[in-house]
Symmetry: D2
Subunit: 273 residues, 4 copies
């Protein structure tokens, strides 16, 4: 199945402003990048590197005036929904791979140390492993109200107390609960269209979800939708939204408009179509 | 100059408990490990890996009953105090090395996003570069009260409001201010004896400090002592104390006693002395 | 000078909902109530009492369906701006009247205990008394950005860190600083039109300000406008916005629309005009 | 039954320091003050007033040097334990007495607005009225760990997250849950010996508990002991510990030692015994 994904950001800057973008499809994963194109207007120096989580990070300086960053990609996806493996067991801490260990630790937005007692109260009686993670997802899905356009980055404690947020907040809270329960959990971020589901009632946006380590691999969960989905395309993974910040500017550049797309397209589509 | 550093932890565990230790001298740095020895009693499986920050991390399972972890090392240090380079310039964000970028981002205990305005209020008028970092150090040193034995891990916002803490808290607050000012800052942790200074009035303990990236390299600052010191031996580096947690147990093992040593010893000393 | 002030609230309730309103002009103060009228539609039981701060509090039950609460008043005001008395001295704590003491204590939104060090950092060098309070006002006025329609009740610590808010938040932060400096400060809330100043660029709303005890009386300060104003009409006083909550519903009634007015009117105007 | 209660505070002050004490037995309540005596050494001016909650508040200035405040009282108590009235119904908000309304609002340490969802999650299924309050008590008693000598005043959100504290923190959390459930709750503070129970394993101290309004009156609950007790003697009531602060000093006086007593004594005992 072929998807076309991408985004366009328009900035207005009173002075040159260093910036970082994390909007590029990851080179690894279940998807395959067929073609991609990046445009900066006016043209500007641009450099990409791979961070410690394997994410592609773009570095550039927003020039004075109006500036557009555009990214467009064709990506082949499997057409299969997120795997559901109810028998996936919880991995004892001592058997976790070394690189999974950092994902049981607290982070800026996922202060699992502070929600430790709450997590055990809510999920201590559930079956360890897949069922426990699904219980976390169900709780977050059932108890949080999705609020489009809520401003401000709330941390998981605030999200837990206020019970509302956007998909990022849903993911942060679920990640936090999992870590408190000694299940490695990492934040996922990327493109996801409404393939196989009714169209959304809101402009397309980036989406956030999370992954947990069970048995011997990572599995994707999405407590906002709380149902396996098709066409999830990773841009970034990390401890939380700090590690996959979409766009960061170090100075006065103001984002004027942001457009995101993620659609299934006919086989044979090219970036010039 | 030769130093002998190490520690001993005695646990009491009602059941086998997975654990992680970060107490081993880093293989890199200005120091050189002459000899080291690790003891577990009773003997237990132990495995070491190197995390994403280059820290040595030990993994083991505390067995039921009484358990002792002991680490002892002879380390050659330069005998030179921390470098002081007042002319070290601030590096513009767009010229920072890729791997320094993550150290301008907020973390669990260093929420630089939340202290952004405070940092600019306090230090916005100082000269960028070395002088600005020194101003941060001076402020933290002058405004915080050192409190031995204060319990609980406070984040930088709490430390700023309450104006007290241990060396870890001093470092967290300074790191937070530097990041808010777009200066990469990382948390440092390790052994440091009282070489060249009056002996401490408290039992030897691990020590925490921080590093900033200025010009083209990292420099060490220590706002607890706020003076260049000799014999700083790194165990770990990271975003904050989450990344260098000394000891983490996943379960009910209780630490009964902890002893730390860090002393200058005569050349020729061996671990058997 | 005659002012007409009042408000109208339209609710939609799925079930009868107990409610409390604090929108009625205080009987005391520099103003004089010439006439007032209250309307509930459909008619409903309504009872008024005077709380421990001398505020008028209305109690009623919002019936199922659509409900309107309307309050309309003609109030004679002096036409004089808020007094400015630069020589007003700070009253030593031991000489404060008993009833002023509770206004040096922290409250829900004004946690003066948490901003104690910050307050002394910022204002410890200013001249005690009027000049110190004016310095607080100037700082709050200069450092906070007014944001219409920001949702959520932030406490003074958050307001200090985030540096933005509505007039309530401005008042909370100033009150908090004053209390930290041992100056009794109370939150004020009421009607205030744009008499003698350019018309506002936003729909009329309630306004919040604060009072401090200096010398032997209370003085009004307004760090949002930060200039003496004419026609300030008190609805409520209290420790903070908890004590003067405008409207509180204990259940599912939803506020559909709120209209507020506060205008100078010709002498001789009646409520039927 | 006759009790002797009182306390002694020894201060060391580098300069005269205004102070407030709330340690005097309330004139109202189920107890009766038989005799009381207050001593200040060296002698100092002292004035008492009654605050808005009916608490006795003493005002004085701690002189430079060493200063002792001593209070000693003989109090007749009923000998009956706290009433248990399981059939006491929850009072609908619209029927609450006016003066009870302020005790459903949030306060400095009891931010019932922030724990609203948590309270309904935990207690929403319980029977309204006495059973609901008892469920709150049971939960707090069962889930919090008593920690003598924990420093710092934590608010109810912190207490809920950290699950530990002293009797004040137990009371704050229970008060907060009750208010979130629309049950008026106020903080109580005073003397309580170990009458009819095994002697405590710690020096006698003041004790904190809380009261709720059910049916047509206030009832006492104590989620630290979580059992009806004999000989509870009120010093103060209020929204939370801010309103009954035991001792507040406005300046540099340092408390050197505090002694508290609360014992049953033979009938006929006098203060000179």
């Amino acid at each position: 199945m072929l998807c076309r994904v991408g985004c366009e950001f328009i900035y207005e800057a009173p002075a040159p402003t260093p910036a970082i973008a994390q909007v590029f499809v990851r080179p690894d994963g279940d998807h395959r990048i067929v073609a991609e194109r990046r445009g900066l207007e006016p043209e500007a120096a641009f450099r990409e590197f791979c961070d410690g989580f394997g994410n592609r990070v773009g570095r550039f300086v927003v020039p004075e005036g109006t500036f557009t960053l555009r990214y467009d990609a064709l990506v082949e996806v499997s057409g299969e929904p997120d795997p559901v493996v109810p028998e996936a067991p919880q991995t004892p801490v001592e058997e976790l791979p070394d690189e999974a260990l950092r994902f049981v630790l607290p982070s800026r937005y996922c202060q699992s140390d502070r929600l430790l007692s709450v997590a055990w109260d809510l999920f201590g009686e559930t079956e360890p492993g897949w069922a426990r993670v699904q219980a976390v997802c169900d709780w977050v899905h059932d108890n949080l109200t999705f609020m489009h356009g809520s401003v401000g980055l709330a941390d998981a404690v605030e999200v837990y107390l206020q019970r509302r947020g956007v998909c990022r907040d849903f993911a942060h809270l679920a990640v936090t609960f999992c870590r408190a329960l000694n299940i490695p959990a990492r934040y996922g971020f990327g493109y996801m269209g409404d393939i196989g589901v009714p169209p959304m009632d809101a402009p397309m946006d980036f989406h956030a979800w999370f992954e947990v380590f069970l048995g011997e691999r990572w599995y994707t969960f999405d407590c906002h939708h709380n149902t396996p989905r098709i066409g999830r395309i990773f841009v970034g993974r990390g401890r939380d939204a700090v590690d996959v910040a979409m766009l960061t500017t170090f100075g006065a550049a103001a984002l004027q408009r942001m457009t995101v797309w993620a659609d299934e397209v006919p086989e044979g589509t090219t970036l010039d179509d």
